[in-house]
Symmetry: C2
Subunit: 145 residues, 2 copies
DNA sequence: TAATAGTCTACTTAATCGATAGATTTAATA
DNA sequence: TATTAAATCTATCGATTAAGTAGACTATTA
């Protein structure tokens, strides 16, 4: 299950994607519409900024905004930031690889092998979902209602 | 990432699967070959027993053994025991459903919709991997080495 | 009945999660 | 230039969970 931090970051990013190219969005505006504790959201947005997802403008008329276009940001990127590895085991991860410290030979470990297979498919799916896809999905669901 | 508890339980179950129909296996034997702290392993096996995965025999010649055959126990079942929901969001879970408390209308929430899609595929994959599959995989990897 | 092996209760310790408070810096505008 | 609006930084906090340990107890069987 995703942490609140990750959930909040996704909610915030989708919100910013909806306001893409419409100027900066206030923290307090995101906080209110998405029901996220303001102070907590501040720290999340700051981290998103440090990692190149968003940018901000200080002072009057300031706020946060997406740097890249909504179809250039996918779920896999966002999850990795706050959750770390996508794989279920460290020995099956690429970007966050670590030995599990249990099996004698990683190359022939059956557990690792199947977990890797799951990981590969999960990453493939997550990369296939961008912020733009999520917004389109929402519009489709509204239409067919 | 899976908790140590879950990892240890998978290691222990695979071990028991390898010894299926060969009589009870000692906690200390599992602890030693799989490098799992004994006391911690005790509590894990107890929980696996309470949940119908294994059974035990006390006294001399005792130990733990699988109840069901290794091809009848899959990854999804095992993960759910110690990790809870497989879905990344509570609103996308079946067996552990909870409202997320953020969107106005769950039926048209784009985030939930894509997370559900990922969940469905993940569960499908996990159900496809049994303890027997993991052991077969290991044998295949050894053969092709 | 002695030895063996699982079971139960109760801790402990460290890390992480979720969140808040308050002071500071930056920028726009009146 | 003073005022105000925003983001930023530092620091801390309480609650929960993860990981693991200790030790007494119970059941089995040779």
């Amino acid at each position: 299950m995703l942490s609140k931090k990750t959930r909040y970051s996704i909610l915030a990013m989708v919100k910013l994607a909806k306001e893409y190219n419409k100027g900066p969005v206030l923290i307090s505006s995101i906080s209110e519409t998405e029901l996220i504790p303001k102070k907590f959201l501040e720290s999340i947005l700051l981290e998103l900024k440090r990692n190149g997802f968003v940018n901000s403008k200080k002072g009057k008329g300031g706020g946060y905004y997406l740097i890249k276009s909504p179809d250039q940001i996918n779920l896999a990127d966002m999850l990795r930031l706050f959750e770390g590895a996508i794989a279920l085991l460290p020995c099956a991860a690429y970007k966050y690889y670590e030995s599990c410290g249990h099996c004698k030979d990683e190359q022939t470990c059956g557990i690792r092998s199947v977990i890797k297979e799951i990981r590969d498919e999960t990453v493939r799916m997550m990369k296939g979902f961008s912020l733009a896809d999520i917004i389109n999905r929402e519009n489709d669901l509204l239409k067919n209602k």
